[in-house]
Amino acid sequence: MTFASAITAFAAASAFSALSALAHLAWVRAFSMGNAGIRAFPGCFATGFALMLGALLCAGAGPLGLFEASTAFAFLFLAYAETMFKAYRGFSHTIVCDVARQPGVTERELYGAFAGGTGIDAMFERRLETMVSTGLIEREGAALRATRKGRRAAAATLAFKRFLRMGNGG
């Protein structure tokens, strides 16, 4: 009984997270979202999660089955999120792709040829724009100013780095 319930829960989590991933892919392609497609996946997975809970409740799942399915779904969601962040924004992964595409490229050439010709300068400019759009910094003329939210976030990450002696990072 225990194992059957767990298998059902894990199967439901796998099935609905796979459907959520397919829904994200279909949405991104249907609306030609390109690089903006990363914004769509939390909504797809939130819908998938709700549908999974509904299906399990209709099938008579108890608290343990719902708990197992929810935590397994959370794990799969986080694994998908990690993959998406790497695909959309992964700095190391993009360097690896560039080097694989152009073996023998020098670091100087890579600076301008980064991400298939985007270049490091444009890449970093995009990151600054994302930080502006997420309210971490704002532009004041030529200056970049950390907002209150940005200062709090920086304080948290700096404290974490100092505590674990991680160095400057980045």
């Binding site: 708990f67 197992e68 690896v96 694989a100 023998g104 890579l110 990151r127 200056a143 970049l144």
Partner: protein, 168 residues
């Protein structure tokens, strides 16, 4: 129903206990051996914590449903922590934000580049990738390792499916 709810509570407590063991092992490892930093030490700490928690529970006679429910709970918490950990450690945006905050909250882009040079971003990351066997520097150029070629092929496929261009 009562037994199931009890098992959920036990699984949650088990996961919390596992996370405490993990945090202690992880922090101790990094503070005592800062050069041992890396994902391998993190995974090792996580595995140690999971085994410790499971072992203690089996010894204490915890019911099987709680043990089964503990596994995805602990795995999800570990993955969430990994996101936070790698993001804080490696993120270019996080570092840029920290530099701006540390400079009194405001910097021009030129000043930011002085404190956190873009050329340095690339050099540091290339050095890390070389150290971890992803790329090889020789004859003045950079070459992919076998696993880098495999990884690049997989990433290119994902990017192609999702219509991602100019990533990074």
């Amino acid at each position: 129903m009562g037994a199931e709810a009890h098992a959920v509570g036990q699984a949650t407590l088990l996961a919390a206990a596992g996370l405490v063991v993990f945090a202690a092992a992880h922090v101790a490892l990094w503070r005592i051996f800062p050069r041992a930093q890396g994902l391998r030490s993190l995974v090792a700490s996580g595995a140690l914590a999971a085994c410790t928690a499971l072992g203690a529970c089996i010894a204490a006679g915890a019911p099987v449903p709680a043990l089964i429910a503990f596994l995805p709970t602990f795995a999800a918490c570990m993955l969430a922590y990994l996101h936070w950990y790698v993001g804080t450690w490696r993120s270019l945006s996080v570092r840029a934000l920290e530099e701006i905050a540390a400079a009194g909250g405001s910097l021009t882009e030129a000043e930011l580049d002085e404190r956190y040079p873009k050329k340095g971003m690339l050099s540091t990351r290339v050095a890390t990738l070389a150290e971890n066997g992803w790329i090889v520097a020789r004859e003045g150029g950079l070459f992919p390792s076998a696993r880098a070629r495999l990884s690049a092929s997989a990433i290119d496929r994902v990017r192609s499916f999702y219509g991602i261009s100019h990533a990074g």
